[in-house]
Amino acid sequence: MPEDVVSSELRKQHLIDPEICIRCNTCEATCPVGAVTHDDNNYVVDAEKCNFCLDCIAPCPTGSIDNWRVVRAAWSLEDQLGWNELPPQEDIAGDTSQLTGDAVEDEIEALLATAHAGAGGKVGPPESAAKPAVNLFRRPKPAIAVVQGNYRITAPDTESDVRHIVLGFGDTPFPVLEGQSIGIVPPGTRADGKPHDVRLYSIASARDGEKRSANNLALTVKRVPGGVGSNYVCDLKIGDKVQVTGPFGATFLMPNAHDANVIMICTGTGSAPFRAFTEQRRRTGQNATGKFVLLFGARTPQELPYFGPLQKVPDSLLEKHLVFSRVPGSDKEYVQDRIRREAADMGALLQSPKTHIFICGLKGMEAGVDEALADVCRKHRLDWTALKPDMRAQGRFHVETY
């Protein structure tokens, strides 16, 4: 890299691996902004033109297109045309603290780390998950989404106000996968004059949109009394513009394999990613053989988000266990109770290497669910303390709690 253009600002640069590229021209033909060009030797990306839309990523037949380097100064076209192989990532870790852009990513990292802590260790993505795009939009340069819908999905007479929010991205590509989150920064400043912290929300729609190919997505957001972020989002009106960062998250992702069993355990708005999973399975899983099981807890049916629409999801697509803890005249039941009641089926699923468990909701549910899974294991002569780390290592055990 020429030394005379060193800048203190780090940037992410999109590059093509010349060792894998076969010069098929697909990326150049696909790029909407003309950032890809070539000579007889290499195909290269112009850092001044690339806008990270990722249109070129999926059509590339080789995977050579999916390479990124954090650089102080971008490699020029001439540099890239002369390469026989990609340069290694330069060690610049020491510098990142000065950079406002990366500080935002650190903020997200911290939020995700906390949310995923319940898994009890390092978790990879499910083996068959698609490769997610992350960090495309950051705080200094967020994507602007327009509110296309805001519906209350809990009964009006309950105190739980949960909203289904639809955000459209217009011409701005914002590729997501089921299980990923986006960041929303409420406008204005905190009492101390600093900008608000970013809030993370799980995406509740499938990868190709709340409405197919409409480039939009849905969120499930609960109004928290006094909460700056949730009140901002829950009060959004159709046509309002929202600053969005992300997408975020590279592990809590839907397995694509048609024979994957997916056990989804949630409370409240923790249902968001599972709505996304189920919709994606509905759209693409015509040949699916794996089971989709949802264990969803709420105080009452009226307070269970998406209670109405959930009734219409066929059992062949999704085995539903909706459990309630405050229905007058009925015993209290929590998701962990249902796990124990379904011990026979649960045990069979836990024995399959195709089974994935996802837990999403309030932190408080973790311990109870963990104990219930341990009980199920004991009944089936399995050792949860051994199985859990195995499943985690194989990307089959995921927790996202808050």
Partner: protein, 489 residues
């Protein structure tokens, strides 16, 4: 949870009919019916002539669910007979024009101009015939796949060739009436290598006996397909152009399988040679004893497949090619990026010919020399891949360089069909040719040796002795991913 059905929007594929499509088939009862009638014959052909023995296996395939960049590469496990073959055209460009020939500047045709009907039908049928042919040629290869990764790539190539047949059949059914229907059936009746009802082009009747042949075929012969599709993508007949543009995105995967396949064979050979301390690439017996394919044999395979593929371009001088161009039906490679008048009536082009016992360049009218020009573009495209292969050899410090033979070498069609030459274009007597042939083209001994290596290697993450692992997995998958869950039916 949402149960709304997907609305039909631009770019989205309609799955409400039996045949996924983005051409509004649901509103075109005649063509829908014709395609639905053709469908069982197609499945019948696929079951009988498609990949042998793996029809019940789960294959990690890429399926197009939409033609926009984000939607057309969706990965998942599919049993091949359940693959969603369909009709997918690149989006219609508003105000697209005929970009070359005597009709240059007219609005691109949404229907076939009557006077070109016969010519176009021939173009579509010839292109269409190559698609099922290659599936037939490759149907036995699954049994000797050197890895699950390679097996998956083979099947991906196969289902996409199947889809390309669909693309051509749609054009036949939609625009050519009864003739089209008959041609569509004919495409399922001819058989690669069958002496009574062969496929239309020579290279598509040759056997693909081993995996090195398969990689060479996808590199050299599918690249002819790419060049032909590129030229047809320029067509003034807009539906043909849009069809071919979408096919090209799939064809790129086939180039990838070929280029990286041969590259990985070379890499493994070089690695094994270095490991055994062999520096001389011509120390063939010792190299072969390592269970890898020696570089001179790889060169011979390249010589064979390059020369066979050159024959697919037809005669260097062709009035048919001139007529197609003049009529605006088939353009040149990257036509719109060429800086000239796009009419060519006064231009000339240097053509390599065999005249008076000599091989030399002669200026010919550019219009009749279009096949030659496309073949030159093709050879240049091939050279790019050969350069990559040589970089691998260079990396290991082995003194060997793969080269493309002269276009005069081993030809059955065109200028050089009546002359024998060496790969360096030195003219030979029949006697010299017979004496040296096995130095330049794979001998039966070479074939027998390669055959001994063709043993299945189906453990996850394992590769046969003669090929190295790929640098990256498909869809970013890890090395030991189960690309094919084999259930033998």
């Amino acid at each position: 949870m949402s149960s709304s059905s997907a609305a039909f929007v631009e770019g989205a594929v309609d799955y409400s009919t039996r045949i996924p499509n983005n051409v509004g088939l649901v509103n075109d009862a005649r063509v829908l019916k014709a395609m639905e009638q053709w469908y069982p014959s197609y499945i019948d052909w696929w079951m009988n002539m498609g990949p042998d023995g793996f029809q019940t296996s789960d294959v990690y395939l890429r399926t197009a669910v939409s033609i926009d960049p984000k939607g057309w590469a969706q990965f998942g496990y599919v049993k091949m007979p359940d693959y969603r073959w369909g009709i997918l055209l690149a989006p219609q460009e508003e105000n697209r024009l005929v970009n070359f020939g005597s009709n240059k500047g007219e609005k691109a045709w949404q229907d076939i101009p009557g006077e070109h009907r016969a010519s176009l039908r021939r173009l579509v049928v010839i292109q269409g015939d190559t698609e099922p042919a290659s599936v037939e040629q490759q149907r036995a290869l699954g049994a000797t796949a050197p890895s699950l990764y390679d097996m998956r790539n083979l099947f991906q190539v196969n289902v996409e060739e199947g889809r390309h047949l669909w693309a051509m059949v749609y054009l036949l059914q939609k625009y050519f009436g009864r003739d089209g229907r008959e041609e569509a059936e004919g495409l399922l009746q001819r058989r690669s290598g069958d002496p009574d009802k062969p496929r239309m082009l020579g290279a598509f009747n040759e056997a693909t006996p081993d995996w090195l042949s398969f990689f060479m075929f996808t590199f050299f012969t599918d690249r002819d397909g790419k060049m032909q599709l590129e030229s047809l993508a320029q067509s003034g007949f807009d539906p043909l152009s849009r069809t071919c543009r979408f096919m090209l995105t799939e064809e790129a995967h086939h180039m990838f399988v070929g280029e990286t396949g041969v590259g990985r064979v070379i890499e493994r050979t070089c690695e094994a040679m270095k490991g055994a301390g062999i520096d001389d690439p011509y120390d063939i017996d010792r190299v072969r004893a390592l269970g890898v394919i020696d570089l001179p044999t790889i060169q011979k395979k390249a010589n064979l497949h390059f020369s066979l593929s050159l024959d697919l371009f037809g005669s260097e001088i062709s009035t048919n090619a001139a007529n197609f161009y003049n009529a605006g039906l088939k353009g040149r490679f990257m036509e719109t990026k060429i800086d000239d008048d796009h009419v060519l009536t006064n231009a000339t082009y240097s053509v390599l010919k065999y005249v008076d016992g000599q091989i030399r360049y002669i200026d010919e009218p550019a219009l009749t020399a279009l096949n030659m020009r496309l073949r030159d573009d093709y050879a240049k495209d091939c050279q790019g891949g050969v350069n990559r292969w040589n970089k691998v050899i260079e990396k290991y410090g082995i003194d060997f360089k793969l080269t493309l033979p002269s276009v005069a070498f081993n030809r059955q069609i065109g200028e050089f069909r009546s002359v024998h030459t060496s790969p360096e274009a030195q003219i030979l007597s029949d006697e010299e040719w017979i004496k040296n042939r096995d130095k330049w083209l794979p001998s039966s001994d070479d074939g027998a040796f390669i055959h001994t290596l063709m043993k299945p290697c189906w453990e996850k993450g394992q590769y046969a002795s003669w090929i190295s692992a790929p640098k990256v997995g498909v869809d970013g998958k890890p090395g030991d991913f189960e690309y094919v869950a084999i259930h033998r039916g």
